[in-house]
């Protein structure tokens, strides 16, 4: 008999002897460990004045109170959004200016080299410009958002959010900490997926992973804000319009959260059936955040990490879009031909072929969806940005027949469609099972298609749009 077999049989015998009292054995082991720990602690640890705990409790009395708990939470979220949107504008345009200055130098260089036009177009107008777009649009808001988020984390506020919201997630069969992975998703869905690691039980972690995409990330916010500004706020006076646009975006976010809870509930009732597993959440003492560390950690760990992946994926995408827009079959580009194919389906969803194609080509990174759309509308052949919202309004409404319904369907589809390539890649890495990755793409897409079709046909049947 080998040693292993002998050990196995010994273990078997031990198990048969202990039998039902096995858990008692474990209990008494844990008991004596704690007894020993307590004895040691009482010898060497002396408690300072209980003032600190008093403070923590007083703060908790406000932050988790019946009256103030939820308003404060939404207020904090609103401030984080506002600072991100307002604060990112300036560095974003500075970055864009800098990167496009480099593009001009590159152009000069390629001209001097007498490089062939297709080569220059592919590398500079395609790959480089796609990259510049993603970096200048993504980097500043991500750096600001993640820093503030890490700051809240360091303060100890985030566990209180999970504490406040757990009841709702419990009803949906999910975990309270999903509230945190969702808030992380506002910054970047890929980061939100990574954040799902904080959920201990696999079932709830999977639910959080599969539904994270219903929270609009930084890459989608500019689109939401631009469309909301044009179509919701366009008709009222200027001083009023930014508030109204913010409200519209907030409404969309609320819709996304509602969809998240509904899909989580559906998943936990069907595919991921099971008992809600054990939930323990520590509410740590509040502490003064280490600002320097927070900045370094959030910029290095989160921003650079996420941006790096996005860049790897966006660069080839920019090249591909350029090729599609500049390869002519007859007198139409491949881009517009494919858009023509997609048109019937897209119309049924309240979109048009170009919008749907932009979403498909935007798979690598959500922030290039809108630039691709504008590019294919003006058939400029390269990614571009219009200077003012008025230009954009003229292009969409007057030249391409957008109604408020088109805008609304685009917004809904932006909120509910497949996750970007980076996010899918991250889901694959975290779950290590392609089935879940496919499902993570299918669930939001189905939700978006169904929502758009219903919305479009309902509004048209009611005759609200001519």
């Amino acid at each position: 008999m080998s040693t292993e077999a002998a050990l196995d049989s010994l273990m078997e015998e031990a198990r048969s002897i202990t039998g039902s009292s096995q858990s008692k054995v474990r209990d008494s082991i844990v008991n004596s460990i704690y007894q020993t720990a307590e004895n040691i602690a009482s010898d060497v640890v002396s408690c300072t004045s209980p003032k600190r705990t008093d403070w923590d409790r007083k703060i908790d009395n406000i932050l988790t109170s019946r009256v103030w708990g939820f308003p404060i939470m939404f207020g904090v979220l609103a401030v984080v959004f506002w600072v991100t949107i307002a604060g990112a504008n300036v560095p974003s345009s500075m970055l864009a200016a800098g990167l496009f200055w480099i593009e001009d130098r590159l152009t000069g260089f390629f001209m001097a080299m007498h490089a062939p036009a297709w080569f220059y177009g592919f590398l500079v107008l395609g790959v480089y410009r796609g990259l510049a777009w993603v970096v200048s649009v993504m980097l500043p808001p991500m750096a600001i958002f993640f820093s503030m988020f890490t700051l809240l984390e360091d303060l100890g506020y985030l566990p209180r959010v999970a504490f406040n919201l757990d009841r709702f997630f419990k009803k949906a069969g999910a975990h309270g900490k999903q509230a945190l992975t969702m808030s992380m998703g506002f910054g970047c869905n890929a980061a939100g997926i990574i954040a799902c690691r904080i959920i201990e039980s696999p079932r709830e972690r999977l639910i959080a992973t599969l539904t994270n995409n219903f929270v609009p990330c930084n890459g989608r916010f500019p689109t939401l804000i631009a469309l909301a500004s044009i179509f919701v706020a366009g008709s009222v006076s200027l001083s009023f319009s930014s508030a109204l646009a913010t409200l519209a975006v907030a409404g969309l976010v609320a819709f996304g959260i509602a969809v998240t809870l509904f899909v989580s509930w559906t998943l936990s009732k069907t595919l991921l059936r099971g008992e809600p597993s054990s939930f323990t959440l520590e509410l740590p003492p509040y502490r003064k955040p280490l600002v320097g560390q927070v900045l370094i950690r959030s910029v290095l760990d989160r921003t650079i990490f996420v941006l790096g992946r996005a860049v790897v994926i966006a660069a080839p995408a920019g090249g591909l879009v350029w090729i599609l827009a500049n390869t002519m079959v007859g007198d139409a580009s491949v881009l517009s031909i494919v858009a023509g194919w997609l048109d019937p389906m897209a119309r049924f969803m309240g979109l048009d072929g170009f919008i749907l194609l932009a979403f498909i080509l935007g798979l690598p990174a959500n922030e290039i969806v809108f630039p691709i759309l504008i590019m294919s509308y003006v058939s400029g052949g390269t990614l571009m940005e219009l200077d003012s919202l008025a230009d954009l309004r003229y292009l969409l409404v007057d030249q391409h027949g957008w109604t408020w319904l088109t805008a609304l369907c685009t917004l809904v589809f932006s909120l509910c469609h497949w996750p970007c390539g980076t996010t899918l890649f991250t889901i694959q890495r975290e779950q290590k099972n392609w089935r879940w990755t496919v499902l993570a793409a299918l669930i939001p897409t189905t939700a978006g298609v169904v929502a758009c079709i219903m919305l479009n046909n309902l509004v048209c049947a009611l005759g609200l749009v001519y």
Partner: protein, 78 residues
């Protein structure tokens, strides 16, 4: 004092001594990990705005448990 109740029933601000865990498997392990062994003093600190989960003071840490998990901890109120 032999009126054993479950931890989830106690009101905020009350103290109790753990007598027994009726949970099994993973939940039991988690509760043991937190130090909820018989004889441990637990304080009921607060409830979330919608009543569940409940935060307890266990060995100097504040831990929130959902009601049905807390109900698997039997205690003697102090």
């Amino acid at each position: 004092m032999n009126n054993t109740v479950s931890l989830g029933c106690l009101t905020n601000g009350s103290f109790a001594l753990v007598t027994e865990l009726v949970a099994e498997g993973l939940t039991r392990r988690r509760l043991l990990d937190l130090g909820l062994v018989p004889g441990t003093k637990v304080e009921v600190i607060r409830r979330s705005p919608v009543g569940d989960p409940i935060a307890f003071g266990i060995r100097g840490a504040v831990i929130a448990l959902r009601k049905e998990v807390a109900n698997k901890v039997l205690v003697n109120p102090l």
